[in-house]
Structure formats: structure tokens, C-alpha cells
Amino acid sequence: MSLPEADSPPACAAAIASGDRAAVANALNLLDDRRPAARREAAALLAHLQQHQDKPGGQLIGITGPPGAGKSTLSASLIRVWRRRGLRVAVLAVDPSSPISGGALLGDRLRMQTSAVDDGVFVRSLSNRGQFGGLSAEVWPMSIVMLAGFDMVLIETVGVGQREVDVARLCDTTCYVAQPGSGDSVQFLKAGILEVPHILVVNKSDMGAVATRTLSELESALHRTHPDGHWQVPVLATSAANGTGIEALADALEQHYRLLQSRNELVSRRRSYQSYWLHKRLLEEFGTAGVDRLGGEEQLLAELQAQDMNLFTQYETLRRRLDQRPINTRE
């Protein structure tokens, strides 16, 4: 895909920042595009977006949890609450793809639907093409685009293993949705397999006793203070079906955001995550050989974290260095 002149990166970035839905959609398509020319354009666009991003406006929230816990339904309920509070919402719903055909059914959208046509809600589904077991490398730049155009950005993904770690390394706030009656969540927490989320939710509280039991098990399995420090992890009960507990969840999410803001951590955290993703994206694009040419993983990460310059500009520069003699591992 090649952007026409009028849609130059600066113009695009401005349109996205103004919440133009077509511009957001086109940018997401571009960021998904693996052709070298598109990669170049994407890098340029990101560099420009970053300039619009000096003031970190939106909150990036990750929702993970086992399959069928009600993540999408809960997201729909949250969207309704946020809309009532006047916030504009974008969602990135990550679904697994079929290992055989590469095809995928992107099913989360169905549950997220909030009936009416609403300019303040934007949902993009993404099939997780699952490189390296974690989240697709596209998730990160896409979340940047969404953050530029919306107040709340929600990333839904089935949380297991590396994918769940990836979400934690991407979002300002992570929220884990547990399924009542399944001991898995408790086991994972105890065994340290589960990164400690900022908020733990037991959904389907309308199921009664099973839900209450899971709630108390999680409460006792959890060290309440988050490893980030300064944050007491709340364990909340919700019912997406009946709409109970949703306001409280929205409040908790907001409190965590306030904390990050008041401690001036938002920008620094995002920056440290971004170097992780920059590396991931370069790795995905140019392979280990490419990363080695930039001095190897360790040196690259250290460099990215140390420098003061706009990470995306830096990304563009690094890409250009490698692009001059492309090593394409994807042939």
C-alpha cells in the first residue's frame, strides 16, 4: 500500500490525533502491512505520531484471562460506562489463528457490540499470528495509533504464557479476568506463572457460590502489593451479564491511571516498554541476523533505553540502516 501525497505521514498523524476514523483505519492497515515500502511508511508515521504524543493523554489497558471468562462481554460493559463518562474508546481484540490454514475467525467483535452506531467506539480485531509465542509485533504500534486518537485503549487477549507477559509489557494497566470455579488462575498466581496484574476480576459473579469461592481463593493467594510498588491490587467481582460491578472496575482502572500520573511514571514506563517492542519488531522484520548487525540484543536494548531521542525516530533510523542491505528472513 502506498499512501497518496495528501496522506503524507504528518497529515496522517494529524488526522489520527483528531480522531478521524478513516485515518485510524488506514493507519492500522499500514501497520499490519509487511511489505518493505509499507514498513518504511509506517516507521515515518509512528515518528510523527510520537510528536503528537508528548502529552500522554489516553490510558492503555490490557485485559487477559482464560478463554471464555467473559473478557469481551466485560469490555462491552466497560465501553458503555466509559461512553457515559464521555470517553472515546478503541479496542484491539487479539484472537488466535488457525495453525493449518492461517485463517481465523475474529469472534470478539460480536460480543463487544454496543448496538448503536457510535463514532466514539472503534474496534479492530487482529489474529495473533503468534511469532515467538507471544503477541504479534503489530499490536504495539497499533496501540500507539489508537492512543493517539482515543481516550481509552483496550487490548483483549487470551492470557497464557508469553502472550500474557507481553500484555503486561505493553499496557499502563493490566487486568486479569478469572473464570469462577476454575482453579487455574489461583494456581498460576501461586506458581508465579501469572504476572501479577494491577486488577484482578472474577467475572460472572451472577453464578453465585462458585464465584464467591474463587474470589476468596484469589484474595488469599495474592500478595496485595503489586511488584511495581505503591499499588494495592484490588480483587473485584463483576457480572458482565447483569452489569454489576462495572462502575467499580472502571473506577479502579482510573485510580491506577491517576497513580501512574501522579508519580510521573506513565511516560517512563511506556518508554521502557517501547524499547522491548522496538526490539521485537526489528527481530520480526529482520531476524536475529539483523539484530546482530545492530550489535546484538543486549547492546541494542541498552542503547534504546539510554538515548533521549524520540524512540520512533530512532526506530526509523535503525530500520534505514538495515534496509540499505535488507536481510529478509521472510522469503
Binding site: D32, G102, L106
Partner: protein
């Protein structure tokens, strides 16, 4: 044997499912049909009436009077039955989510005709669970829907004792792909769920509960494998007899009788060589008439042109004559049960009963019928069965004459006529209906309407039986849309699971699938990202089979699929396409309103700056309309004749390639 002395059984009730354009046009049709020997009425309502919208609601646009009659208020209902004395009539109404409302209107019209409601005879389909699984005209979430169903049952058992308050339907399940075993299991599980709910509602004293059980009737399907279908009906009778005896303690065998009506299979009726449908229909009719001990009470047959579009009066007459020939000319009704004691039949019946019991147990294990609707278990099973059926047609294992064998044909005189062999709905119907609705609204007593609606809201939120308040609404001149809107506000609305998230089914033609996959992959690489397809079901049309099967096939061919189920607005579809960045939009429309819907979607796409996304459509699209659509820029039109799914996938890849400046054949 001397002919005169032979005692024949009374034939079953012969019906023709019909209704179109307006109440007065349908009334005329009914009176003609009755004069031709039809013995009962079967009313088809249009989709806005079935989904609770007045004819002037934006969502009704293009649908008014199309697949049935629009009924907005008591005036329409009165016109529908003009000169048809309700005291003598047996009326079957195919109505579900709005069943309490249409029954209320029927009662109010009876009152005006001076007929005591307790004399009324007939049926409301009133089985909402299968709407989520197949038929698609649900409105509210499952729980309040079940409550409305049980309210209607409890009311009629007490006040309209000869009414069949619910017709538990397995017909629609087979039409959505169900096997005989699944048909048995899900219908019986539904009946159980409904009876349990009536019991739990406490509206019927325990000593009268057997009367409720005795009023439950069924609406089943009969497919082309007519021996197995015969056995299925025998299995139904036996399982129902046991269930009602054991679970509900019904002792009177008459109240345990499996009473059922039939519409024979329509899914297997073809667009190619449509004359073959006549022999299919006749054979299918045998399976519900052969066994005297499990014979249908009422039969309605589709017409030879089922897959082409709506039938004309002559087409329906032909179908009615099939029944009359079987009942009156043949000697079928002179004998006792022909199959009793046949070991072959007995073994098959046993096998079906065992299968059904096992599946019913699985439904219980997944939380029971209502939970299985919401968690998607049953819908997935149905989609999977249908996928298997289509793969077997693809591979030739399942033979369909004229479709995957003996395709050569002389030209058919049946489709050569000026109307190309189908009913054309009067384009003025919608406008006239809206005008008369507005006049009706203007003339009624507003205070009485307001009071009746308040009473309805209180009953809905308070838990009183919904019928008395609904009947008062009918008398007061409330409209279908107003009645439904009150309940929408109290109960909320619902979207059912799509069931497409099934495991891959072995391909019918593995090499062909591999070839498509390779093309999908290659084209995705050339465009920088995997190919994405949005499958959209716009409007009130609930026919989801085609959309589901294209979705499953598309996934297996390597597409990323966005499909959000039925009944979306053109604006929702256009926006979803843009948000999801799809390469192609594939619409599926079978209800006949394709022209209006395509136009609206194109307009929406234009408005949001996404008109570069190419559009294709599939469904029941007459040739003439197909040409019109393609002239308007639609890239392809698929109809039931296009049975080869691999070919459909390939065409879509080609269209995407063309739209993106790639070599089309690549």
C-alpha cells in the same frame, strides 16, 4: 375387498403457509385457498411484525409485506380475518418473539366478531429457543423470552383451552443442518426446558399440569431419506411418551400423545432443475404419513420453486394437490400401521432413540437447553453438521440429482414464463401500509393507549402474566412496535452466538482446498497482510446458513473472517468493514430485500470514505436483480446454484486481486 365398505381414517389438516403484501391482499388469498379445499389457515407474517417493528420503522424499510403479511394493530388483524368466522377456523400463526402480542390481537378480533375467546382453535408457534439456533426472529435474551413463552402457555391453558400454545420446532433445526438425532434431542430438550419453566412459574396448579403437557405440540421436518425420517417420527412418539410419563407423571395416554405438524424439508430443494423438487416433496410427505401410529396432524408443503423465490398461488395449489392425491386417491388411510413389527424399522428407531438420549444428556451436562443456547454449544453442533453435509455434497458422497450429478438438462418450460416462475410482491404495499398505519395512529384514543402501555410495562417488570395487559393493549389500539418497544426497554435485546467457531471438518476435495489456500496466502503476501473478509447479514433477514458456511469455509481457506451474526444495519456493516480493514465485504441476503440493502450499504460506505472496499452478495437473488446489482458496481452475485464453495472462494480472491491492481488470475 369392496370399496364401499372400507373405513378410511380422516385425513390430516392441509395447510398452505401464506401471507403477503397487506392484510386485505392476504385475506383474499385465504378465502380463495379455503374455497379450494384447504382446511386450515397458516399465517406467514412479514419480518418487521415478527421482530417487533412497525411498518414505518427504519429497520422495516424494504421488508414490509415481503415474506408475509404486515400486522401493526387490531385494524390489520381484523382485515386479515374479514368474513372468516374465527369460531370455526383453525389458525396456525408462525410467530415467536411477538407471539403473545399476535395472540392478543387475535383474541381482540374474536371479541369484535362476537366470538368467546374460549372457543378459539389454533396454534401459536411460540418457540423462541429455536429462533436463536436457526430461525432468527428473537428479540430479547433467552430468559425473558422463556418467560413470555410460559406466560402464553399458562394463559391459554386456563382461558383458551383448545389453543395449541406452543409448537416446539425441530423443523428449523433440520433446515439449519441438524441430523435426525440432533433434531430429536434438541426438540425434546426444548420441550423439557419449557415445561420445567411453566412448572417453576407456579402459574398452573400441580393437578392441572397434565393439561399443559397435553397441549404441547411439535412442528417437525421430514427430509429426503424418508425411511430414516419415518423412523425418526416413531422415535419421537416413543421418547415423548416416556418423557411425559416419567418426568411429568402424566398418566392419561392421550395427554402423552406426540401431536405434530409438518413442513417437509426445504433445504434440499434446489434451484437447478427445480422440477425435481416435486418428487422430493412427495417422497418426504410419505415419511410423516406412512405410520398410522405416528402420523402428522397437519401438513404444509413447500412449492417446486422454493429455491427460486416466493411461490405464486398456482405453485401453492400444486403443493396442496400433492396432499390431496395422497390422502384421497391412494389407499394409505385404509390400513392400520404398516410398519409395526418390522425388525428393520424397530432397530433404526432404537438407534435413533439411543443417539437422542445421549445427546440430551450432553445438553444437560452443558447446563441445559437455555444455557446451551447462550453458550453456543448447540449452535456450533448445528453449524458443524451443516458443514459436513456441504462437504459431502462437494465430494459427491451425498448425491443431489441435477446438482452434483445429472446436471445436463433440457430447457425448463416452468421457469420460462414472464414472471420467471416466482411471485412478485407489489412494490406499493409498503407505502400503502405506512399510510394506513399513520391514519390508524392518528385516530385512536391516546389516553387509553398510554394507560394500556403502562399496564404492560408493569406486568413485564413486575412478573404478572403478560397476556391480560397485552389483550388490553390490542383493544386500545397499541401497535406492534409500541408493544415490543416497552418489552425491549424492560428486558433488553440480545445477539445470539454464531456457532462458526468449530473445528475444521475434513475437506470434500482436499486438492481443491489446498489450491485455494495457496492463492489466498500468495495474495495476502502480495498485499502485505493476510486477506480479510467481512461477512455481513444486513436487515431483518435471519437466514444465516449461507453466511455461516461461507465463514467456516473462508477460515479454512485461510481468510481472516469477521462475522457478527444476523440483523445488522447497513451503517453497522459499513463501519465494521472500515474498522476491521477488510479486503472484501460479502453480503448474504435471502429475504428478498437485497436491492434496498445494497443501495444503503453503498451509500454508507461512501459517507465514511470506504467505498473502495469491493462488495459481493449471495443469496436468493433473481437473475434480473443480479444484473441490476452488477450494473451498480457489485463485483459478483452468488445464488444456491453456486454449490462449489472452492469456486466461490477462488472468485473472491480474484475480485480482491483485481481491486488491488494485481494480475487477476495470479
Amino acid at each position: 375387498m369392496s370399496q364401499e365398505t372400507v373405513k378410511r381414517d380422516r385425513p390430516w389438516l392441509m395447510r398452505t403457509y401464506s401471507g403477503h403484501s397487506s392484510a386485505s391482499a392476504s385475506n383474499e388469498l385465504y378465502r380463495t385457498n379455503l374455497s379450494r379445499g384447504q382446511t386450515g389457515l397458516s399465517v406467514a407474517f412479514d419480518l418487521p411484525t415478527q421482530t417487533g417493528y412497525d411498518s414505518d420503522h427504519p429497520l422495516a424499510h424494504g421488508e414490509v409485506g415481503k415474506v408475509g403479511v404486515p400486522i401493526n394493530h387490531i385494524g390489520d388483524m381484523e382485515t386479515l380475518f374479514e368474513q372468516i368466522p374465527l369460531a370455526q377456523m383453525n389458525t396456525s400463526m408462525t410467530i415467536n418473539a411477538t407471539a403473545p402480542w399476535l395472540l392478543a390481537l387475535y383474541v381482540a378480533v374474536a371479541e369484535r366478531q362476537g366470538v368467546d375467546p374460549s372457543q378459539l382453535q389454533g396454534t401459536t408457534q411460540n418457540d423462541v429457543l429455536k429462533e436463536y439456533l436457526s430461525r432468527g426472529t428473537y428479540i430479547f435474551p433467552p430468559e425473558p423470552s422463556v418467560r413470555l413463552t410460559t406466560d402464553l402457555i399458562a394463559y391459554t391453558v386456563q382461558h383458551i383451552p383448545k389453543w395449541n400454545p406452543t409448537n416446539i420446532c425441530s423443523y428449523h433445526l433440520q433446515e439449519a443442518g441438524a441430523t435426525p438425532t440432533q433434531e430429536l434431542a434438541y426438540a425434546l430438550s426444548t420441550a423439557m426446558a419449557i415445561l420445567d419453566a411453566v412448572q417453576a412459574s407456579g402459574q398452573i396448579p400441580p393437578e392441572r399440569f397434565a393439561d399443559v403437557v397435553g397441549r404441547i405440540s411439535f412442528f417437525v421436518n421430514a427430509g429426503i431419506r424418508f425411511v430414516e425420517e419415518t423412523c425418526k417420527l416413531r422415535a419421537f412418539s416413543r421418547l415423548w411418551d416416556t418423557l411425559t410419563g416419567e418426568r411429568y407423571g402424566v398418566t392419561d395416554p392421550k395427554q402423552r400423545r406426540f401431536r405434530y405438524g409438518v413442513q417437509v424439508n426445504s433445504l434440499g430443494l434446489t434451484e437447478s432443475q427445480p422440477e425435481n423438487n416435486v418428487q422430493r416433496i412427495v417422497l418426504e410427505m410419505l415419511s410423516v404419513t406412512l405410520s398410522k401410529n405416528a402420523r402428522a396432524r397437519a401438513i404444509q408443503l413447500p412449492a417446486w420453486n422454493e429455491a427460486l423465490g416466493l411461490p405464486r398461488p398456482w405453485d401453492q395449489q400444486w403443493a396442496l394437490r400433492m396432499q390431496q392425491v395422497l390422502a384421497l386417491e391412494t389407499d394409505l388411510l385404509e390400513y392400520g400401521d404398516l410398519l409395526d413389527g418390522s425388525p428393520v424399522v424397530e432397530a433404526k428407531v432404537q438407534e435413533l432413540m439411543d443417539g437422542a438420549k445421549a445427546e440430551m444428556a450432553r445438553v444437560e451436562a452443558h447446563g441445559g437447553m437455555v444455557a446451551c443456547v447462550d453458550n453456543g454449544y448447540i449452535k456450533r453442533e448445528l453449524v458443524q453438521s451443516h458443514t459436513r453435509r456441504l462437504r459431502n455434497i462437494e465430494s459427491g458422497e451425498l448425491k443431489i440429482v441435477g446438482v452434483n450429478c445429472f446436471q445436463e438438462s433440457a430447457e425448463s418450460p416452468l421457469t420460462a414464463g414472464e414472471e420467471s416462475g416466482i411471485m412478485k410482491v407489489d412494490e406499493r404495499a409498503e407505502r400503502e401500509q405506512i399510510a394506513s398505519l399513520r391514519a390508524f395512529r392518528a385516530a385512536r384514543d391516546k389516553d387509553r393507549v398510554e394507560a394500556a402501555l403502562r399496564q404492560l410495562r408493569d406486568a413485564a417488570s413486575g412478573g404478572d402474566n403478560i397476556m391480560p395487559a397485552s389483550i388490553e393493549c390490542a383493544r386500545a389500539g397499541v401497535t406492534t412496535g409500541e408493544w415490543s418497544e416497552v418489552l425491549r426497554t424492560v428486558f433488553g435485546e440480545y445477539r445470539a452466538p454464531t456457532g462458526i467457531d468449530i473445528a475444521p471438518v475434513a475437506p470434500g476435495d482436499a486438492a481443491a482446498l489446498e489450491a485455494v489456500r495457496a492463492r489466498v496466502r500468495k495474495t495476502g503476501e502480495a498485499l502485505g497482510r493476510p486477506l480479510r473478509l467481512l461477512i455481513g447479514k444486513p436487515g431483518l433477514d435471519g437466514h444465516s446458513n449461507g453466511a455461516e458456511q461461507i465463514a467456516v469455509k473462508g477460515r479454512d481457506a485461510g481468510f481472516e473472517i469477521v462475522y457478527e451474526g444476523i440483523r445488522l444495519t447497513p451503517a453497522q456493516i459499513a463501519r465494521a468493514a472500515q474498522e476491521e480493514g477488510v479486503h472484501l465485504i460479502g453480503l448474504s441476503v435471502l429475504s428478498g430485500s437485497h436491492l434496498e440493502l445494497v443501495q444503503e450499504i453503498s451509500r454508507e460506505l461512501q459517507q465514511i470514505g470506504a467505498s473502495d472496499i469491493p462488495l459481493v452478495i449471495g443469496g436468493i437473488i433473481p437473475e434480473e436483480d443480479a444484473q441490476r446489482l452488477q450494473a451498480q458496481g457489485l463485483k459478483a452475485v452468488f445464488t444456491p446454484k453456486d454449490v462449489d464453495m472452492n469456486t466461490i472462494m477462488n472468485s473472491m480472491v480474484t475480485i480482491i486481486r483485481e481491486a488491488n491492481g494485481l494480475e487477476p488470475a495470479g
